[in-house]
């Protein structure tokens, strides 16, 4: 690993923005032409209700071997929050006893969790589709080099972050030297059969803008990413997901420090797309925090916006009927998921 590429997290620095309450205060202080609730109402979507629960997203914690400048989790090596054993066991119980088809594992770097492989293996044994949100460089860490084989063996869909197919943009966002390691990790995934349409091992890439602008057309960028990565590195992958940067945690810090916060929020509001609003991921996803608390999405989780009453508040009280009746909690950050082509953990939505 290149020395000096790891930065202290907001939490480690004792920055006021480490507090979700301070983040919300800052976001709510930006004058917008309308609230997210008003925007939803204009599309006849307020209050926002869940559809069918398709995805249980487990956030295994905030530990990560990278400190990306846009991270909405404020993850990093100095974070200590990881999902305790009793929460893991309860999540597995829910996975094994319900018909939720997909388990989406995220973090931090979820692979660093000591129970990661057990979660994958038991979810797969229960017949679930499993997705691993992977930062790529974790696959090169000394004690994790057999992870690629494990993921292939269990036919896990690997969703990997790569903001750009070229070095400069990737390293600017994710840290010096991350690009080279990411390319090496992609080579190893390809060598294991990932990205080969005939093998059925799905390798997705996630790009997000390196700055205060929205991503372009997902289809167009995917063609570009595929051509460029094949030409320059011989790398293949299945799909490219475009994700809009959310004004939360370290990206929020950067927006404020660079003087981009108001213009970025205006850009998100201006680009509100009713079709994207109808397809937001919080309608079919339930997010479980490292400590077992429940959220409508990973972004609400990082802002401490717990699921609305009277729905169950933790995975220990999981009750699908009550959850299906809840109203999704929304705020100004939600404009990030409804701008332009929309944004979700599965990329564009509209």
């Amino acid at each position: 690993m290149t020395a000096g590429r790891i930065l202290p997290t907001l939490s480690k620095r004792g920055d006021p923005l480490a507090s979700p309450a301070r983040q919300l205060e800052l976001l709510r202080g930006v004058r917008l032409r309308r609230t997210f609730g008003e925007a939803l109402a204009s599309a006849s979507l307020f209050p926002l209700r869940p559809t069918t629960l398709e995805v249980l997203q487990l956030n295994l914690g905030k530990r990560c071997n990278q400190t990306c400048r846009h991270c909405h989790v404020d993850a990093g090596p100095d974070r200590r929050e990881v999902m305790p054993r009793d929460v893991v066991e309860r999540c597995l119980e829910v996975i094994e006893t319900t018909d939720i088809p997909t388990v989406d594992i995220t973090g931090g770097a979820p692979e660093l969790h000591s129970d990661f492989r057990e979660i994958v293996a038991r979810a797969r044994a229960a017949g679930k589709h499993v997705m691993d949100r992977c930062n790529l460089t974790v696959l090169l860490l000394p004690n994790y080099t057999d992870l690629v084989g494990f993921l292939a063996e269990h036919r896990v869909e690997v969703v990997c972050s790569l903001p750009h197919y070229r070095r400069r943009q990737t390293d600017a966002q994710r840290g010096e030297g991350v690009y080279e390691e990411s390319i090496e990790a992609l080579r190893r995934l390809n060598a294991a059969g990932y990205g080969d349409p005939d093998r059925g091992l799905v390798l997705d890439l996630v790009m997000n803008p390196v700055g205060a602008f929205l991503p372009g057309s997902q289809a167009s960028l995917e063609r570009d990413w595929k051509a460029q990565l094949a030409r320059t590195h011989g790398i293949r992958f299945n799909r490219l997901f475009t994700i809009t940067n959310m004004p939360i945690a370290r990206f929020l810090e950067w927006l404020e420090a660079s003087g981009n916060l108001e213009a970025y929020m205006e850009r998100l509001v201006e680009a509100f797309n009713p079709a994207a609003a109808a397809a937001v991921m919080c309608r079919d996803t339930l997010s479980v925090g490292w400590d077992g608390r429940l959220y409508d999405c990973d972004f609400n989780q990082m802002l401490d916006l717990e699921i609305a009453d009277p729905a169950p508040r933790t995975i220990f009280d999981f009750e699908p009927v009550a959850l299906a009746r809840r109203a999704v909690r929304v705020g100004p950050h939600c404009f990030g998921c409804t701008a332009g082509g929309g944004s979700s953990c599965g990329g564009a939505t509209a």
Binding site: H164, R166, R168, Q169, M207, P209, V210, G211, F213, L214, P215, G216, S217, S220, L221, R223, D224, W225
Partner: protein, 110 residues
């Protein structure tokens, strides 16, 4: 003249249509079609637009297409190379006209 170009004026571009609506509508439709993905990708078209913006030295176009290039997936290296292409053609065009200068010199000189 210090404020001759103002960033906020770009958002008023469509006001041009107030005096000649049908012409503006034709322009807007054609403009939109030009930048759709075709034989060239959206990224390549944005890079060409950025280069032309520098060649015609339009501040609005430079602002707009710097952002558009990033949005379409170009990176600063690609954008800088595009600006060099514009500069090379502008500089080269001046230099190539040196042939005209030489023709004149040879025509009247001994």
């Amino acid at each position: 003249m210090a404020d001759y170009y103002r960033s906020e004026d770009l958002a008023r571009f469509a006001e041009i249509g107030e005096e000649a609506g049908p012409l503006w509508e034709k322009f807007a439709a054609w403009y939109g079609a030009v930048f759709e993905e075709g034989a060239l990708s959206e990224r390549e078209k944005a890079l060409i637009a950025l280069a032309v913006a520098h060649a015609v030295q339009c501040p609005y176009c430079i602002d707009a297409y710097s952002q558009e290039c990033l949005k379409k997936g170009a990176d600063p290296e690609q954008m800088t190379e595009a600006v060099h292409v514009a500069a090379a053609i502008r500089g080269g065009a001046s230099l190539a006209h040196g042939v005209q200068m030489r023709n004149t010199v040879h025509g009247v000189g001994m």
